[in-house]
Symmetry: C2
Subunit: 391 residues, 2 copies
């Protein structure tokens, strides 16, 4: 894509009404725009990132048998009165109607599966816009009033089968975080089973400087606990913990028969598994950035290559890369070198390639990886091989 | 995909609370599920159809320079008070909040483009869930309270440029309808410019037996008019018209400077261009069906091939087709031949392939196109070439 045609622009100053790193950088780099508290538009670069994350999540959910659906956001009051959750304050209600906006879908998916499924287990997921009444949203796209989420629901004939599948979901989640670049910093963290359960659940917590949550990691065995369940002594016997700030990038619950019972499927036990798409996008920005901007992991970046021309014409290289299906943002704008380099660092595409008068003399381009200081001169005729080797 | 694993099932009886052909067939065939009046879940087969339509629309919008974004559904009251449209009854309002649910996005996209764009023209679109308070929804997914829509907005420095682009959008829309199988039955229909305009707009109206709208087609020149603007004499001089029932599958407006002026972009004129994704899906079903079920056009169908095994094992053929990237639904269920054939017709995949004891003896499969009576025997070793020739 030619950058001159992109309708968004970068912004020099941090937005005054945003405290979080993810919102500051994403707004400045032109990935998102703030419409109101906790409400954001995803601009072309931002939507490309979202589509990349969705693709990863979809592939990993399909690998563990997930069947994708799209359930509505408008939910009838009757469905939520069955579970007693209509009164939950996080749920937006529509004025003068018996309708609310979905923030989770147990009340919808359980009767749907009851109506349709003739055998079990079944695994149903969707990637869908959720709404949640957050009184004071302040963490950028980490905690919006409207956000994209993948929610998976599993239905089993036995606890054993649920337990087996729960482990498979754990593995699938870690594959997602690995492809998003977050795996090393993400801990499977024991958490309470929530309002309706005496057992435990698990959160996937990604360590960052300015996370919303605190987790406690056992220095001896590496087990991780959230604040609700932390009791200052680990199962391994150790009492030595490290307290870390973190962001919850996923959570998984065994629901047992709580919902299935209410919808007359007594013999079924359920699990539910959430993963916020826009939240993961925000977490990636919180983890991968420096003073100059964002540093996107390879599989998440909106483009593979950012091609800059400085007082020369790089359209030949742009066309060659496009022919090879390399995803390239081509900065063909009439701007100063300083401005182009600054925007390039801010936007954070993995590979920066510069064609200038100096490099042309040597039949070369200058290549630099975002987040790495080293600059290389690469012969233009070897460029495509070099890029393909990187991805 | 193996049909035994699909969590949905077909339903024999027409749902009592649905009058429209699209809802009856889509529910019976397991593509959608009704949650409430005008509110539907899209099940795996239905979501596949949606993704096919989205892909077509996206490709055609990108061809005319469209840049895809994702704007929010939650809209602040302030934005809509600027245009005086907060009071519109079709707009759902959130209880106890100054927020409404988006049913169109002029109020959001105009200030967004003002903030970002440094040159014009610009073409911004999204494929997004819209909400509209329909008091008595009764046309299935043709007119839901929640529906998927593509909305494109164009921003120009002159009326001439807007007029040029408007013609390009017309062509792009007809390419979409062509790929959806609807082109022959779809008429560019003159309509009023709406509440805020003295000029005309255009609707794309698809002729069906039970359409919601009436259009008047000039028998002499083929020009088409909706009820608002029909004046019983065509521009060509003819007074001879044919009145037809139809479904609006798209509409395009020249907005002039109405919105740009209100958001302080006086020098800009705008166009807006809507195309309902779920509505097009419904229209396709209304046009392509028979007494047995749906007849999906090739590019829209959830699968290319429906492979049925009757008292034999067709898993070898299934695996071979999958290796060739042919999209196949494999009916490996333990059901009677009658039930399998009935479901196959109801679901409406373009190519039915049957392996039975009889066909195996001849090293053949039986091949039949949905909607065509002719049945052919094809040698198994020639099957892949035959299928590839069809698509």
């Amino acid at each position: 894509m030619k950058q001159a045609e992109l309708f968004t622009k970068t912004i020099k100053e941090n937005p005054k009404d945003e405290k979080s790193i993810n919102a500051q950088l994403l707004i400045r780099a032109g990935f998102v725009d703030k419409l109101g508290a906790g409400i954001y538009s995803y601009l072309p670069l931002g939507l490309m990132v979202i589509e990349n994350i969705k693709k990863i999540v979809r592939e990993e959910m399909n690998k563990i048998g997930g069947q994708e659906v799209l359930m509505p956001s408008l939910h009838p009051k009757e469905s939520w009165e069955i579970t007693g959750r209509w009164k939950v304050e996080e749920m937006y209600k529509i004025k003068d109607e018996n309708l609310g906006l979905g923030w989770t879908h147990e009340e919808i998916v359980t009767p749907l599966v009851k109506k349709h499924a003739t055998s079990f287990p079944k695994y149903i997921y969707q990637i869908q816009t959720k709404f949640r009444n957050e009184p004071r949203p302040k963490s950028g796209i980490l905690r919006g009033r409207e956000f994209l989420m993948k929610d998976l629901y599993s239905f089993h004939l036995s606890e054993d089968d649920l337990n087996d599948y729960y482990e498979k979901v754990k593995e699938a989640y870690f594959r997602v975080y690995e492809r998003c670049g977050l795996k090393e910093k993400t801990f499977l963290t024991l958490a309470s089973g929530g309002e309706f359960s005496s057992s435990f659940s698990h959160e996937f917590q990604t360590i960052t400087k300015s996370g919303e949550d605190d987790i406690y990691i056992c220095k001896n065995c590496g087990a991780s606990f959230n604040e609700e369940v932390f009791e200052s002594k680990c199962n391994c016997g150790s009492v030595d913990f490290e307290k870390k700030k973190s962001i919850e990038v996923g959570n998984i619950f065994k629901l047992g028969n709580r919902y299935s019972k209410l919808f007359s499927m007594e013999n079924i036990v359920m699990g539910c598994y959430g993963l916020g798409i826009t939240r993961v996008m925000g977490a990636i920005v919180e983890v991968f950035n420096d003073e100059k901007g964002i540093i996107w992991p390879k599989e998440i970046a909106p483009f593979q290559v950012h091609l800059l021309e400085l007082d020369v014409d790089a359209s030949g290289i742009y066309n060659d890369l496009q022919k090879e299906k390399i995803k390239v943002l081509y900065d063909n704008r009439e701007k100063s070198a300083g401005e182009k380099l600054g925007d390039c660092d801010l936007i954070g595409i993995p590979l920066r390639i510069i064609l200038s008068k100096k490099t042309i003399e040597k039949n070369c381009v200058e290549v630099k990886k975002r987040g790495v200081d080293k600059i290389e001169l690469i012969e233009i005729k070897k460029l495509i091989d070099f890029i393909k080797n990187e991805f």
